[in-house]
Amino acid sequence: MTGFASIFTGINFIVTIHKMRAPGMTWNRLPLFVWGLYATSIVQVLATPVIGITMVLLILEQTLQIGIFDPALGGDPVLFQHFFWFYSHPAVYIMILPAFGILSELIATFSRSRIFGYRAIALSSVAIAMLGFLVWGHHMFVSGQSVISSIIFSLITYLIGIPSGIKIFNWVATLYKGSIWLQTPMLYALSFLFLFSIGGFTGIMVGVLSVDVHLHDTYYVVSHFHYVMMGGSVIALLGGMHYWWPKITGKMYNETLGKIAAGLVFIGFNLTFFPQLVLGAKGMPRRYANYLERYADLHQLSTVGSWVLGAGLFLILGYALWSLAYGEEAPQNPWGAATLEWTNVAAIPSHHNFTRTPLVTRGPYDFHLADEVFGGGDGEIGGDGKLDGKGEVQVPDAVPSAPAEETA
């Protein structure tokens, strides 16, 4: 069922991006979040059927006793591993590519500079999506596959480090000489850069064939994928939720609590998972409820970290609910962002989003116009923006509307 939901969403996004762009919204003017989702959708549509078919085969095996994966029936369990990872490795990119997209939005908006290497970021997402299909074997270095295929999988795994590195480099280059505004979403974006880099570097280490034989099925791997999945995807999602929260709910969240929670999450996360890296390197295997006395200290440190992390996440839940009930009304564009959902959509979007279909004449990170109309994102309104009685900003459309005949 989730499989169907996943495929539907993928198809829907691909067709939407191909067919529903506003006039003037060329491929080179797509916000990078859209590029990230586009790459994700390709993976969703191509990879998800494989896990669906695997599940059907598994059901057939169990109900009709046909030997497919179970050696007792004449099947091959390694075949299941191949099928499983052929989906589940690309699934890792389903989880991380949208996070890359969010990051590009946050970094550009909160450092108020044109994104460095727009094309490189956009195309590296697609490159990761494609290469992601060719590396499933690196989960199976100790499954008994041939050494030659292990070496090839290891090599292609390193290749994925290249587009990922390009992204990190471009984001840091965007920050360079930008005027950085440390609001909560930006704190998450900076946390991401740090945590995902650790996740990436530890990934390179387990990608090394000989090292992996030692680290396989230890806490090192557990820690590695939590750095990627939680330190990457979840942190980016939290940043994105804070960023779009005013547009989704029409309310602001409490900025001070937001910063405290971001700090708790960052500290708690590292406290939980960094000891696990050390545990794994010392040989603590994963999936065991009991362990030797010599691992106790690091495990207890990790447990304490999980409480800090939990406290941070519950604090977010708390002030999110509080904001729904008592939050300040959000202005149309609290961050001074330059993408259409902030510049051309009301504070709370109307049913059809736009009163008039926008005519796009500039790239997604051109902050000059956004600055003039919405101020520098520091709450001051410049240009033609005027406050009406309710504290809402009355603004002209920052992007001109398309002539009526084009909007059909």
Binding site: N12, I17, S233
Partner: protein, 147 residues
């Protein structure tokens, strides 16, 4: 929107211009469950995925509690196996895979490219309902594992 005559409709249209938005455009549980609005579908996903994240997160805290001592602390080895398996499955397949595209992608993508909605709004809602059913099934399984 329909066009004319009926006074109450006309009133509604006027209201529409003033301060109607996607949140108060229609009300009632049924209108939310059958909505074709990409923004509302994003919010539905947000609610169900936040619930999954909460449950799977609490499972993680429970696992860490068990691991606070070298020997058995709060649960049997067998229960521990079930707890970490459910934590993994729920976090990856029910939370992380759908998370960002389904919540923020649905909400923001059409607006970012200047579209009124996604290309197949009904398919979008169907996907959301599929996901809801799936979460129910997993919840049921979890309940059976821990009666």
């Amino acid at each position: 929107m329909s066009t004319e005559t009926h006074p109450s409709t006309a009133e509604q249209d006027e209201h529409h211009d003033e301060d109607e938005n996607y949140l108060n455009h229609e009300s009632g549980l049924w209108s939310w469950l059958t909505t074709k609005d990409h923004k509302r579908i994003g919010i539905l996903y947000l609610i169900s995925l936040a619930a999954v994240f909460l449950v799977a997160g609490v499972l993680a805290i429970i696992m860490r509690l068990e691991l606070s001592g070298p020997d058995q602390t709060i649960m049997s080895n067998d229960t521990y196996n079930q707890v970490f398996t459910m934590h993994g499955i729920m976090m990856v397949f029910l939370f992380l895979v759908p998370s960002t595209p389904a919540i923020l992608g649905n909400f923001a993508l059409p607006m970012q490219i200047g579209a009124k909605d996604v290309a197949f709004p009904r398919l979008n809602d169907l996907g959301d309902l599929c996901d809801g059913v799936c979460v129910d099934l997993y919840g049921d399984q979890l309940h059976r594992d821990h009666p």
